[in-house]
């Protein structure tokens, strides 16, 4: 690996900033979809407010995803040739944990989607938009999840 280049492009963020960014990257998109769909249909959120809030959440989410992606020279997304043995271990563990988290959250989301309409007494109609948002969210979050895991887990550099 080219450690000089890696060191020069390292982007350090303290953990107190990285962790909130990782959370925003993960929950921002579902919150935006909530503003656009359930918030308007179930909670009576005005469309203009719901739409703007959703758009703002998407922008904040994309910013958070970009920041955690850049963390430590794209450590979570880098190929083996750009990493040393410790970094490869960190990246591989992040991918394994991402898979576990993704499967777990998807299962919980499916159960919640099945239970909530019954509890609230309102039907959940599956529209093309809803399925589209779900698929887009799954793609977006699965891409950002390894970066979020690394950003959450890595300790600050101590000297």
């Amino acid at each position: 690996m080219d450690s000089t280049r890696a060191a020069a492009s390292d982007i350090e963020l303290p953990r107190r900033i990285r962790r909130p960014l990782a959370v925003v990257a993960m929950v921002g998109y579902p919150a935006a979809v909530f503003c656009w769909t359930i918030g308007q249909t179930w909670l009576g959120l005005p469309p203009a407010i719901g739409g703007l809030a959703g758009l703002a959440l998407i922008l904040v989410t994309l910013f958070a995803m970009w920041r955690i992606y850049e963390f430590r020279s794209h450590l979570a997304q880098a190929p083996d040739a750009q990493l040393d043995e410790r970094q490869v271990q960190i990246r591989d563990r992040a991918y394994l944990d991402s898979y576990r988290i993704f499967v777990g959250v998807t299962l919980v989301a499916l159960v919640v989607a099945g239970l909530v309409p019954g509890i609230l007494g309102r039907p959940l109609t599956l529209t093309f938009d809803l399925v589209n948002w779900f698929v887009m969210g799954a793609v977006l979050i699965s891409l950002a999840l390894p970066s979020a895991v690394v950003a959450w887990r890595e300790p600050d550099l101590a000297d």
Partner: protein, 91 residues
């Protein structure tokens, strides 16, 4: 099924050897082909090196591997140099 692997911490003298030779972490990292942060992780004991990396480091310092890495904590250098009794002899 194999028994669960215990977490073994590998102790090392990297910080002392690097200080002796006036090397920065970046210089050592460049010479053994790892990121400079990995040297910090090694020195703090937060990461155990692979056998290949341990041999590379030993070759870099021109020392036997057991002089740099050990599963047991190293005695302080002053004790090793000046003590009249063997450290860890139990006497």
């Amino acid at each position: 099924m194999p028994a669960p692997r215990p977490d073994i911490r590998i102790h090392n003298r990297l910080a002392v050897l690097r200080a002796e030779r006036g090397m920065s972490r970046q210089e050592l990292a460049d010479s053994v082909g790892v990121n400079y942060q990995t040297i910090g992780y090694l020195e703090r004991g937060d990461y155990n090196p692979s056998l290949a990396l341990a041999f590379q480091i030993a070759a870099h310092f021109e020392l036997p591997i057991e002089a740099i890495f050990s599963p047991e904590p190293f005695a302080p250098m002053s004790a090793a140099l000046y003590s009249t009794t063997r450290v860890g002899a139990g006497a």
